[in-house]
Amino acid sequence: MTTAAAKVERLGQDLGRAGRYLAQSLRLMVGLPDYDAYLSHMEATHPDQPAMSYEQFFRERLEARYGSRVGRCC
C-alpha cells in the first residue's frame, strides 16, 4: 500500500517537473529566462544588490531580446 502510494507520489512529482520544464521552455522560447533562477543567482552572488522585480525583469529581458543584432531565422 505504502509503496503504491509512494509510486503515485513520485509519478506526480515527475509530471510536475515535466510541466515546469515545459513552461520554462515555452517562456525561454520567447526570450524570458527563469525568474526564480535569477532570484537565487542574485541571492547567492550579489546579496548586496537589490534584485529586479518580476516586472522589471520582464522589461529588461524584452529590450534585450529585440535589441539584439541577430535576425530571425528563415
Binding site: 521552455s25 527563469d34 530571425r72 531565422c73 528563415c74
Partner: protein, 688 residues
C-alpha cells in the same frame, strides 16, 4: 557479447529504416503511405544521432563534461544562465525553425518527392546537423561569441568583415523572399488578408495588456491572443462571403507589396513591447503547436502520397523553378537539410545557456534533426495533394495560362490529368477565389495541411478553416521575422555606415534610426517588388538567390569548423566538416555560376537580360513589360541579381582562401593553436 547486445535495438531500427526507405523509393505502382516517409526519416535520425553525433562529440570534438561553460563562468541570471537541457532544446528549436523548412521542400516537390527526401535526410545527417553542432561547440568554448567574431578570431579581421557583410546581404534577401511568400498567399484573398491584418490590432491589444494591465503575464495574454486569432479566422470567412466587405480586403500583389513595405517600416520603429513582442509570442507558440498538430495529423490520417517519386522535371525545366537537379535541388531545399543561418543562432543565445558542454550534442545536432523533421512533414504535405493541384498552384500564369480551363489543359499535356472543376472546387473548399499561380510554398503547404487536418478535426466543412489557419500561422511568423529582421538589419547598417558618418551610429537618435530603417526597408522592398512583378512568379528569381546565399553561409560556418579542427590538431577528423563544406561549395558555386552565365534565359540572369535588351534594341516589347521603361527595368534587375550572385560567390571564395591559409598555418604549427578560453573545471555541485 554484451557489446553486441547493446547495438541490437539499433540494428532493428536500421533494418526498419532501410525497409521503409526501400518502400518509399522502390515500390512498384501501388500507393505509398506517407507513414513510410515518416518511419524512414525517424529511423535515419535515430541512427545518425546514436552513432554519428556520438562520434562527433567524443572522437572529433572531444566534449568534456568537466569543463566549465560560459553559462557558469558569466552566470548573471539573464543572458548567461545554466539551463536544463530539455528546456534549452525547446528554446534552440524555436529559434532555428522558421518558414525555410516549410517552403523549400514544397518547391522541391516539383521533381517528385524522392529527390527532396533523400537530400533532406543525407543533408541533415552529414552537413546541417554537423554545422549546428560544431558552431555551437566552437562558440561555447569561446564564451558564446558570435559567428562574425569567431571568424575574426580564428581566420583574421578581413574574412570576419566579409562574412558580416555577407550575412547582411543574406538578411535582405531573406526578408524579401519571406515577404514575397506572404504577398503570394494573400493576393486576391479577402479571407487571408483580413485574418492577417487582424493580427495587428490583436497584437497591439496584447502589447498594451502586457505593459499596463497585467505586466509580464505571457501565458495569459497569449491565450487571449490565440482566442482572438481564431475569431479572426472566422471573421475572415464572414468577410469572404460578404459582397460588401470582400472588396475592401481584396488586393493585388503590388498593393500588398506597398502595404508590407509600409508596415515593415512602421513596425520596426515602434517600441518593441507594443507590436513585435506580443506577435512574437503568438507566432512562436502557434508555430510549435502547429508543427506538433501536423505531426499528429500525419500519424492519424496516414495519407497516401499522390505525387510520383520522380516527375519529368527531375531532368530540369520545371515550372516552379528552373534548372536541373544538380545543383538546384540542393539550394532549393536549404533549411531542413542545411541552413547557414543556424550558425548565427548556434553562436547567439544558446551557447550562453549550456549547462554542460556535453549537451551541445543533444541541442546542436538533435535540434537540427527536429527541424529536418519539419521539412519532411512539409514535403509530405505537398505530396499528398493531387499533383495537378500542386502544379496549378505553383506554375506561373505565363507558362500554364490564367483560367482553370487553360491550366487544366496545359497540365494534362504534361501528364498531370486534372479537370477545371477540380481546380475550382479546391479553391471553393479552402475558401479562396482562386488557387492558380500561388507559388511560394505557403498556399500549397496550407492546402496540404488542410487536406490532412480536416480528416482529424471538422471534416470537409472545416477545410477552409484549416487552410486559413495554416496561412495565418505562416504569415504570422513571417511578419515577425520581417519586423525583427528589419530591426537587426538597421543595427547592422548603422554599424556599417557609422564608420563613415559617426552620427548615424547612434541607435538612440531618431533621425539616424529612421534613415537606417528606411534604407533597410527600401533594400528588401526593392527585391520584393521585383519579385512580385516578375512574370515567372518571382520565386524563380529570389528563392535561388536565397538558397545560394544561405548555403554559402553554411559553407562559411563549416570552413570555420575545419580551421578550428586543424587548430585543435584533429587533422584526421577534419573530413567531417571538409566533406559537407566541399559539397556545399560545389553546389553553390555551380548554381551561382549558372544563375549568372547560363545561356538558358530561364536560368541565367545575364541571358535573360540579353534577351530583353535584344528585343528592346529591335523596338519589341516582351511580356510582362508594356513600355520600353519597363523593359529597361527588367534588364537592370537581371543585372543587379547577377551582381548580387557574384557578390555572394566572392564572399564565399574569399573565406575559402582565408580558411585554407589558416588551416595550413595550423598544420605547420607543432602544437594546438586554438584560441579557446582555457580549461576551468565546472563548479562543485554542477550536474553533468
Amino acid at each position: 557479447m554484451l557489446n553486441i547486445r547493446r547495438h541490437l535495438p539499433w540494428l532493428a531500427v536500421a533494418v526498419l529504416g532501410a525497409f521503409a526507405l526501400a518502400t518509399v523509393a522502390l515500390g512498384r505502382g501501388e500507393a505509398v503511405s506517407a507513414l513510410w516517409i515518416v518511419v524512414a526519416g525517424v529511423s535515419v535520425y535515430l541512427i545518425a544521432y546514436r552513432y554519428y553525433s556520438l562520434f562527433l562529440a567524443y572522437r572529433v570534438l572531444g566534449l568534456d563534461e568537466k569543463r566549465q561553460t560560459p553559462a557558469w563562468r558569466h552566470n548573471d541570471g539573464l543572458d548567461y544562465v545554466p539551463t536544463n537541457r530539455y528546456v534549452l532544446y525547446g528554446h534552440h528549436f524555436a529559434a532555428i525553425a522558421g518558414a525555410g523548412p516549410l517552403v523549400g521542400p514544397v518547391l522541391a516537390a516539383q521533381m517528385g518527392y524522392l529527390p527532396g527526401l533523400l537530400w533532406i535526410l543525407a543533408g541533415v545527417v552529414f552537413a546541417g546537423a554537423v554545422q549546428d553542432f560544431v558552431v555551437l561547440f566552437i562558440s561555447t568554448r569561446r564564451d558564446g561569441r558570435s559567428l562574425g567574431d569567431l571568424i575574426k578570431q580564428e581566420m583574421g579581421p578581413v574574412p570576419g568583415v566579409i562574412a558580416l557583410f555577407g550575412a547582411f546581404m543574406i538578411m535582405i534577401i531573406i526578408l524579401a523572399v519571406l515577404a514575397l511568400i506572404v504577398v503570394k498567399a494573400l493576393a486576391n484573398s479577402p479571407w487571408g488578408t483580413f485574418t492577417v491584418a487582424a493580427t495587428i490590432p490583436v497584437a497591439l491589444f496584447m502589447g498594451v495588456y502586457l505593459r499596463w494591465i497585467r505586466p509580464g503575464r505571457i501565458g495569459e495574454v497569449s491565450l487571449i491572443g490565440f482566442v482572438l486569432l481564431m475569431l479572426a479566422i472566422f471573421g475572415g470567412q464572414w468577410v469572404h462571403e460578404s459582397p460588401a466587405l470582400a472588396p475592401l480586403f481584396t488586393f493585388d500583389g503590388k498593393a500588398l507589396t506597398w502595404m508590407l513595405i509600409g508596415y515593415g517600416f512602421v513596425a520596426s520603429v515602434l517600441p518593441v513591447w507594443l507590436l513585435l513582442a506580443p506577435r512574437d509570442y503568438l507566432s512562436t507558440f502557434l508555430k510549435i503547436g502547429t508543427i506538433v498538430a501536423l505531426a499528429i495529423g500525419i500519424l492519424i490520417v496516414a495519407p497516401d502520397l499522390q505525387m510520383p517519386r520522380f516527375t519529368q522535371f527531375a531532368q530540369g525545366n520545371g515550372p516552379v523553378w528552373a534548372g536541373s537537379l544538380f545543383p538546384f535541388l540542393f539550394i532549393t531545399i536549404a533549411c531542413g537539410a542545411v541552413s547557414g543561418f543556424h550558425a548565427l543562432i548556434a553562436s547567439g543565445t544558446t551557447p550562453k545557456m549550456l549547462e554542460n558542454e556535453t549537451h551541445a550534442r543533444f541541442i546542436g545536432y538533435g535540434g537540427m534533426l527536429a527541424e529536418s523533421f519539419v521539412a519532411v512533414m512539409a514535403l509530405v504535405a505537398a505530396s499528398v495533394i493531387q499533383p495537378g493541384v500542386y502544379f496549378a498552384m505553383n506554375s506561373p500564369a505565363a507558362l500554364v495560362g490564367s483560367t482553370p480551363e487553360a491550366v487544366a489543359a496545359t497540365l494534362s499535356t504534361w501528364g498531370f490529368v486534372i479537370t477545371p472543376d477540380v481546380l475550382i472546387q479546391t479553391a471553393k473548399d479552402v475558401g479562396e477565389n482562386t488557387i492558380l499561380a500561388r507559388a511560394g510554398g505557403a498556399p500549397t503547404l496550407a492546402v496540404g495541411m488542410a487536406h490532412i487536418l480536416h480528416q482529424v478535426i471538422g471534416g470537409k466543412a472545416m477545410m477552409a478553416f484549416w487552410y486559413h489557419f495554416a496561412i495565418l500561422f505562416e504569415a504570422l511568423f513571417i511578419l515577425t521575422a520581417v519586423d525583427a529582421g528589419t530591426r537587426a538589419g538597421r543595427f547592422m547598417l548603422q554599424d556599417l555606415l557609422g564608420t563613415f558618418v559617426p552620427a548615424l551610429k547612434r541607435t538612440e537618435s531618431l533621425p539616424a534610426n529612421l534613415i537606417a530603417t528606411g534604407l533597410c526597408v527600401a533594400a528588401w522592398g526593392y527585391f520584393l517588388y521585383q519579385g512580385v512583378v516578375d512574370p515567372l512568379g518571382g520565386i524563380n528569381t529570389l528563392w535561388p538567390l536565397f538558397g545560394i546565399s544561405n548555403q554559402m553561409l553554411a559553407a562559411v560556418a563549416l570552413l570555420l569548423g575545419t580551421v578550428v579542427l586543424f587548430k585543435m590538431k584533429k587533422d584526421r577528423y577534419a573530413w567531417t566538416t571538409i566533406v559537407p563544406a566541399a559539397w556545399l561549395l560545389a553546389c553553390t558555386l555551380t548554381a551561382g555560376w549558372l544563375k549568372i552565365f547560363s545561356a538558358d534565359a530561364k536560368v541565367g540572369f545575364l541571358a535573360h537580360a540579353a534577351k530583353f535588351s535584344d528585343a528592346l534594341a529591335q523596338g519589341q516589347l516582351l511580356a510582362p513589360a508594356k513600355t520600353p521603361e519597363a523593359m529597361a527595368r527588367i534588364i537592370f534587375n537581371d543585372r543587379l541579381d547577377a551582381v548580387l550572385c557574384g557578390l555572394f560567390m566572392f564572399v564565399v571564395l574569399s573565406v575559402l582562401v582565408y580558411s585554407v591559409k589558416a588551416s595550413l598555418a595550423a598544420r605547420a604549427a607543432g602544437r594546438p593553436t586554438t584560441s579557446e578560453v582555457p580549461f576551468q573545471p565546472l563548479p562543485l555541485g554542477a550536474k553533468a
